[in-house]
Structure formats: C-alpha cells, structure tokens
C-alpha cells in the first residue's frame, strides 16, 4: 500500500527573510515539517524551536573513555604485565604517559562524536535523500509544511502566510512513502 504525504513548500532566497518567516509561520499556528538549506543559517535552529544538540556530551563521554582506556592500557602493560626499568624511571612513569593519553582522548572523542552524528542524522552512503526540491543544495531555502499535520488550517491559508512572510515561490509536493 502506498501512502503519500502532501507538502507545501515555501521557497526563500534570503536567509534573513527566512529567519523572520519561521517565527511568523509558527505564530500563525502552523507546524513546520523542516527547513532545508544549502548552507548553515545561524539561529535557524532556535527559531524552529530545536533543542540544543547533545553531541558535545557524546564527545565528552567518548573522550573520557579514551582517557581511561589509554591510562589503563599503559599502566597495565608497563606497570603490571611486564614491568621493566627504562632509563631508570618508575615502571609507571605517569608524565611519560601524558602524550599517548591525550592523543587517544582526542581520537576517541572525535571519532565517537562524528559516528554518533552520522547515526543520529541518518547519514550513510546508500541513502537516497529524496530531496523535496533540487535547489536545496544550490541556492534556495525550502520551508516544508506537512499538510497532513496541519488539518486545522486551510492549505490556501498556509500558502498565503508563506507568501506574506517573503517566500518567492509556494509549491505543492506529493511524496510517496
């Protein structure tokens, strides 16, 4: 069974107009499905009411994991499993373990965070993005409204709000699920 979604797309060509438009549309009681942009628009996530990303927390956790792993590895290898006197130093010469610990902290934090990002944003080589408008990756910002979730407001009314907020075009788009 094929299910289809009806979208109304507001096309914007200026990021500042878009930013103001998002507030106006939300104030009119219309739910915005998502905004697609060719480049990051600062403040757009706040306007859309998105929560702050928790990725930095993920990075911190992965970093801590790296620190722990690195210290455990070095202390266990040189201090417990096979202690040797190297240059008259202690078996566990902590200052000497700082560089490797630092590097592994950074390595795990970076890879862990980027991995989490790819998974949480569902980015993968075999994904077909099904763009609502091909100009998203060129020069247009597309504000998508899912008509199925905005039954309370007439579609033509939504179209008018989009136009009033500065959209240069308003298009219909049916997406097969």
């Amino acid at each position: 069974m094929s299910d289809s979604k009806d979208f109304l797309l507001g096309v914007y060509d200026d990021e500042d107009v878009l930013l103001k438009a998002v507030g106006k549309i939300r104030n009119a009681g219309i739910k915005i499905h998502e905004v697609y942009s060719p480049f990051p628009v600062h403040g757009l996530d706040d306007e859309l009411g998105y929560k702050k990303s928790r990725l930095p927390i993920a990075a911190f956790m992965f970093g801590m994991l790296g620190t722990t792993l690195a210290l455990t590895m070095q202390i266990w290898m040189l201090g417990i499993d096979w202690p040797m006197i190297i240059g008259g130093k202690n078996h566990v010469a902590l200052p000497d373990f700082v560089p490797v610990t630092f590097e592994l902290t950074v390595l795990l934090a970076a890879f862990g965070m980027v991995g989490t990002f790819l998974v949480s944003s569902d980015l993968k080589p075999w994904k077909d993005p099904k763009l609502l408008d091909i100009r998203i990756t060129d020069d247009k910002h597309i504000l998508a409204i899912d008509l199925g979730k905005n039954k309370a407001v007439e579609a033509s009314e939504i179209g008018n709000v989009l136009k009033d907020s500065g959209a240069v075009e308003v298009n219909d788009k049916k997406v097969e699920e």
């Binding site: 480049f39 290898m77 373990f97 950074v106």
Partner: protein, 453 residues
C-alpha cells in the same frame, strides 16, 4: 542576523550570488580536465614514477643506499619527515583555530589547505616507514601488541612511540574533519550530476539533505571538532620536537623546542598553502574567492610566525652561551661557522629575513612576491631541520668519529618521490573535489560579498 561591516574589505569580489558560488566551484569538477591540469598532473605522475625507483631500491637493498653513516644516523630522511609534518600543520590550523576565532577569511582556503595537510602527512609518514628497512616485517611493532606477538610491549616512555600516536591521530582526525566539510558540497555536485557520477557523489555525500536539524548538529560537531583539533595541532609538532628535545645531544636538548617547532610548522604550512593557493587560484580562475585580502592575511600570519622562529633561533644561541656548557656552546658555534655554515646561513636568510619583507604592504599584496617568498620560506624551513639534525650529529662527543653527511642519489630520489606523491594527490583532489568550501562561502555571500549596485 548577518551583520555587514563597513570597515572590513569584502571577502568575495565580483558581486557573486549564492548560485554563482555553486556554478564557479562545480565547473572545475564537472568540466573535462584542462590541458594545463593534464600537463601538471602528468609531470607529477612522472616525478612519482622516477622517485619510486629510489624507493624500490631502498626497499630492495636496504637503507644502506642512503648516505647515512655511523655518526650521522639521521639526515635527509628525518629532515624530510619533519619538514612534511610541519607543512601539514596549516590546514587544520586554518580550519580549526580560525574557526574558533571566527575568522571568516578561512572559508575560501580551508578546504584546499586541509587537503594539503592530509597529503603532507602521508608524505611525512613515508620516511619513518622506509627507515624501518623492511616495513612489511616490522611496521606493526609500533603498535601496542601482546608480548606473544614476538616482541615486548611497546615503550610508552619513548617519544618515538608518542609520535606514532600523535601523527596517526592527527591524520585520522584531520581526515574526518575534512570529509565532514566535504559532505554538503558533494551533495551539491550530486544534485547537478546524472548517471554514474550522480551515484558516486551520492554515496560520498552520505544522503545529505540540508535539513535544519542536521545543519544544527553539523555546526555543533564542527565546533567541537575544531576545539579538539586545536590542541591536537599544537601537540603534534610538540611531540615531534620531543624526538630531539628528550635526547642528550647538544643542540637538541633544549626546552624551547616545542613552541619553536610549532611556530616553525605553522610558518612553513602557511607558506605551502600560499604556494598551492596562488597556483590553484590562477589555474581555476578563483580570483573572486581567493582575494588579495586572503593572501595578505596569510602573509601576516607568516610574518608573525616567522618572527617567532627568528626569536627562537636567537634565544637558542643566547641560552647555549649562557648555560656555560662547552658541548652546547660548541654545537652552536659549529652550526654558524663549522662546515655546514652555508646551511645555517641559508636558514637564517630564508626564515628570518625574507618574511620581514612582508612589513611592506606593497610586497604582501603582490602575488608574485608572495609566491616567491612562500617558496623561499619552505626552502629555509627544510634547511632548519637539516641544520638541527645534521650539524648536531656530525660532530659528537668523540672527535675520532666526526664525519660529514653526503646524500646519495637515493636520498634525493625518495624526497622526489614524496613530491610526486604530494602533487599527484593534490591535483587529483583539485580536479575531482570542490576546492572551495561552497556551503561555508555561501553563508557569507550576503555579509561579505562585494556589492555591485
């Protein structure tokens, strides 16, 4: 809200629109390779092939093919290694440190300089790997593998091992940073392409759709990655300098090495970025994106870091004299007036004097002067490493073992090989990848573009 400054000069000239950015950058990727590109790429591949003969000879016969002797056990190989790693510092510095400082001029040059970083680190890695003699038998010994594997645990007290961790971390984190920046641009190319090309760039773009939610996460990932990469950049050359500083060789055993090496690395990295960007700008006609303003900014960084390097040289001398240690004093006297005086004075002229020319606005805004000085700086930085390594080793504590170092054709060949490798990779990148970060540049079109009303 974008704030338009009336004080700052525009970073994009020619009154470009957002769509123009897409067109101008994608054109290089989509068009058939130009004659100029084919020629440059051909020369690089030929250089790579000629250099490979020396690499093959080294692998077949062993590193006895190089000019090393019992006294001078490190010479061209480690000089080249440190030189390439140093060059590999500018990319991540530009993209990470300048991102943290919100320097918008980084946007036009970060992509290519990150690519340069990655290729330079690959070239650098060639030397320690070849220095192992038979890397296929021993390269894995640098990893912490169990004793039953055939050797003891690795020695975590050794700076050489720290290097393994530092450089591989730096390489992989830089690669991830670079790739993440490429994803939205691959999506742009994907949406303009068809057929096989669409499939390839589609896979590379990881199904990017430009959703605000993804951009929001993307921005926070970039910021944290920049925060992680900044101490990482500083740590890499610090740890490379530990290879020398933790030894007891006069001329190496100094605490000034870490900051001095880091400044030198940024210095040479920016010089190499300039050399490459000036050529790329000319070949791909990117004058509106890489403006004189960008070149001037980079030249200022070169002057600052070049001056730090100059102060470091002088401090090193002063401390050698002030320490009262005869071996230390001799090492520095020998650098200046010994048999390698020419290398020392080349280094001084290229690194300390030439960047000071940029105090003149006329010189630092001249493309040809910048191009020449950027090459001179890199020659100087090569001599710096040569001076540090060879002059400190060639006269050790025992005068009977004093020796000179003479490079063989194989030393030169392996160096040539890394040049071939570097430029082959760079030209492939310049042809098939977007050389300028389109998404970032588009975000400043409104605020930093030249208005042509």
């Amino acid at each position: 809200m974008q704030v338009t400054s009336s004080v700052r000069k525009p970073l994009i000239t020619g009154g470009k629109t957002v769509h123009d950015v897409t067109e101008d950058i994608c054109r290089q990727v989509e068009a058939k390779p130009s004659k100029l590109w084919l020629m440059a790429f051909g020369i690089s591949v030929v250089t790579l092939a000629i250099g490979f003969l020396a690499v093959a000879a080294t692998l077949w016969e062993g590193i006895g093919m190089w000019g090393l002797n019992k006294t001078v056990g490190w010479a061209w190989d480690i000089t080249n290694f440190v030189w390439w790693v140093g060059i590999g510092h500018a990319g991540t510095l530009i993209s990470a440190v300048l991102l943290l400082f919100r320097q918008k001029w980084r946007m036009a040059i970060n992509r290519a300089s990150e690519a340069m970083t990655i290729f330079a680190v690959i070239c650098a890695a060639m030397f320690p790997v070849l220095h192992m003699g038979r890397p296929w038998l021993g390269a894995y010994w640098a990893l912490p593998l169990p004793n039953t594997f055939g050797s003891l645990w690795v020695n975590f007290n050794s700076p050489l091992l720290w290097d393994v961790f530092a450089i591989s971390t730096y390489f992989s984190v830089s690669l991830v940073f670079w790739y993440l920046g490429l994803v939205p641009d691959f999506a742009t190319i994907r949406d303009r392409a068809s057929g096989m090309r669409k499939k390839i760039y589609g896979a590379l773009s990881l199904g990017w759709d430009g959703a605000a939610k993804t951009w929001s996460r993307y921005e926070s990932v970039s910021l944290i990655l920049a925060g992680l990469a900044t101490p990482l950049v500083l740590s890499v050359h610090t740890i490379v300098s530990f290879d020398f500083a933790t030894s007891v060789i006069p001329g190496w055993h100094t605490t000034i090495f870490p900051p001095y090496f880091v400044a030198g690395a940024i210095f040479s990295g920016f010089a190499m970025v300039l050399t490459l960007m000036i050529v790329t700008r000319q070949v791909f006609k990117l004058h509106d994106y890489i403006t004189i303003e960008h070149i001037e900014m980079m030249n200022i960084v070169i002057t600052v870091t070049g001056s730090i390097v100059g102060i470091a040289y002088i401090t090193e001398f002063f401390i050698a004299w002030y320490s009262g240690v005869p071996a230390e004093q001799y090492a520095f006297f020998n650098r200046m007036f010994g048999p390698y005086w020419w290398a020392y004075w080349s280094m001084m002229t290229c690194n300390v004097i030439s960047p000071q020319l940029f105090w003149s606005k006329k010189i630092r805004t001249s493309i040809s002067a910048t191009f020449i000085i950027s090459i001179i700086v890199n020659i100087g930085m090569w001599f710096e490493r040569f001076v540090i390594i060879v002059t400190s080793l060639h006269r050790d504590y025992l005068p009977s073992s004093w020796a000179m170092f003479y490079p063989t054709i194989y030393d030169m060949g392996v160096y040539l090989f890394t040049f071939g490798l570097f430029f082959t990779l760079f030209f492939l990148f310049a042809k098939f990848f977007p050389v300028i970060n389109m998404a970032e540049v588009k975000s400043i079109v409104k605020s930093s573009s030249e208005k042509t009303a």
